[in-house]
């Protein structure tokens, strides 16, 4: 007689989370649904740096200094680390209200506004708060059934309310919010430096080698150089501009969302109540301030009575029989078209504006 061993499957909370995110590594990684452009970003950075280390660095390390590839490697590792942190972490998603809480808030609202007849859309619900002597309005989110904290916004692409929402960035495949803004900023900063570095040393390489064997021969010997210079050139205009824009935002303690909506500009508008009035203080708070942990508890275990069959759309990783190992199970779905949420939420633009120059196709 054989003994059957039944392995109990543990259902984790990430499998039941609403919203349009994908989760990998059994809930440790959280991203938006569309990851195509993120893969492009990875490919461009890895590809260009591989070419640089394989060809130019070998020559320059011998001819000029071995420190050149060392610094390049440090910049490359730092920007990859910050990119992965930005893409894989929870941007500051506010979990949706549980039914009790939603009902409690609805009761409070009805008590204030009076009941709305069935079938009619109720008016937008707004609460007024005073922050540092300025009046700030809190909006009610129909999808998440909560009053959004100040500076939070609902991302229609990910279908989540995100604290201190900046923008949804397809290049990193995730929203940028309170918890990952500093990683995003350091990523674009280090990427700018890396781009400038690679671009500059490619020019130096071509110049040095052309003196010995001529310009055309140099290009024939390392055709990758042309590709690298092209990618860096286009990347420079977009990423460096973006870094400048975000440096401006950090210095004023503003978000892209607020800047686009003009929340704090114009004569009839209130001043930004979150700015400390001092650039250094603002930078320190945004980049080095305390980092709140995620409140989503993605890896928490659901009680047995709640773990029914998995809804097919909310998760991607097929770890049903695997123990909780950090094996990257990236069974990622094909890119889907973004559906517009039907609720009248704030619709932040999918990309931040590139202020002085036009948006170019490739980003390294």
């Amino acid at each position: 007689m054989s003994v059957m061993v039944v392995r109990k499957k543990v259902t984790r909370k990430w499998e039941k989370l609403p919203g349009r995110n994908t989760f990998c590594c059994d809930g440790r990684v959280m991203m938006a649904r569309q990851k195509g452009i993120f893969y492009l970003t990875l490919f461009l950075i890895l590809g260009t740096c591989t070419l640089f280390f394989a060809f130019e660095c070998r020559y320059l390390a011998v001819q000029l200094s071995p420190a050149i590839p060392v610094f390049a490697a440090m910049l490359f590792l730092f920007s990859m680390a910050t990119l992965l942190r930005t893409s894989f972490s929870d941007p500051g998603v506010i979990p949706r209200a549980l039914p009790d809480e939603a009902a409690f808030i609805e009761m409070e609202i009805e008590a204030t506004n009076g009941a709305v007849p069935q079938g009619q859309r109720p008016p937008p619900r707004i609460k007024n708060f005073q922050i540092n002597n300025q009046i700030v309005k809190l909006k009610y989110c129909y999808t998440c059934k909560i009053f959004r904290p100040p500076r939070a916004s609902h991302c229609s692409i990910c279908d989540n309310c995100v604290e201190r929402f900046d923008h949804h960035c397809p290049w990193v495949g995730n929203c940028v919010g309170k918890r990952n803004y500093r990683y995003f900023y350091l990523f674009i900063l280090s990427l700018s430096l890396l781009t400038i570095y690679v671009f500059a040393f490619n020019i130096v390489y071509v110049a040095l080698k052309s003196l010995k064997i001529g310009f055309l021969e140099t290009l024939k010997e390392t055709p990758g150089t042309v590709l690298e210079v092209l990618i860096c050139f286009f990347t420079l205009w977009s990423v460096v501009g973006l870094t400048g824009f975000h440096t401006f935002l950090v210095a004023l303690n503003q978000t892209t969302n607020e800047d686009i909506k003009g929340s704090w500009t114009g004569k009839n508008r209130v001043q930004n109540p979150y700015s400390h009035g001092n650039i250094v203080k603002n930078c320190c708070e945004v980049l080095c301030g305390p980092l709140p942990p995620s409140v989503l508890d993605r890896r928490g275990i659901l009680p047995l009575e709640e773990s029914g069959s998995r809804p097919p759309s909310t998760q991607e990783a097929s770890t049903s029989l695997l123990p909780q190992s950090p094996a990257p199970t990236e069974h990622l779905s094909a890119n889907e078209m973004p559906e517009d949420s039907s609720t009248p939420e704030d619709m932040p633009p999918p990309e931040p504006p590139e202020p002085p120059q036009e948006v170019t196709d490739a980003e390294k």
Partner: protein, 166 residues
């Protein structure tokens, strides 16, 4: 005759969930985590106003400590940046440490003050830091009142600091 409820297990066994009260966030000082100290009318007959306010004020002070912007938080931030944030893989942040302290405090308050009065505080971390949920239990034996509020029965244990992963 009302049964004296001595601990959380007895509370759940002998009482049924009557209703829940939600203490909302107070945004008057900005986006820092603070809860309103306004005393909800539903708790009027259950707990003294002063005890309730003291609990909420202590919680607010814990959150202020977690979010304090000062020398030590800058140091932590700069050190983390210098290590490309790899240090967070092995080190707990200051915020996480304070959240654990808050969990322990809430459990203590539940055992000493709230459970004997038929109430249960839920750690705000389990509600996305939006509200402090207070579950009000009615004693099954005496009044025989059924749940008038929602019947989800989620008077969850307040000991779980639910801030998982990243």
């Amino acid at each position: 005759m009302a049964t004296e409820v001595h601990n959380l297990q007895e509370l759940r066994r002998s009482a049924s969930l009557a209703t829940k009260v939600f203490i909302q966030r107070d945004y008057s000082d900005g986006t820092i985590c603070q809860f309103q100290t306004k005393f909800p009318p539903e708790l009027d007959s259950r707990i003294e106003r002063q005890l309730f306010e003291e609990t909420v004020k202590t919680l607010n002070s814990f959150y202020a400590e977690a979010e304090k912007i000062g020398g030590s938080s800058y140091l932590e931030g700069c050190l983390a940046c210098a290590t490309a944030y790899f240090i967070f893989l092995c080190m707990e942040t200051h915020y996480e440490k304070v959240l654990k302290k808050i969990s322990r405090y809430i459990q203590e308050q539940n055992e000493k003050i709230f459970a004997p009065r038929g109430l249960l505080l839920t750690d705000p971390v389990e509600r996305g830091m939006r509200v402090i949920e207070i579950s009000i239990y009615e004693d099954r034996c005496s009044s025989g009142s059924s749940s008038s509020g929602s019947s989800s029965g989620s008077g969850s244990s307040s000991g779980g600091g639910g801030a998982g992963g990243r």
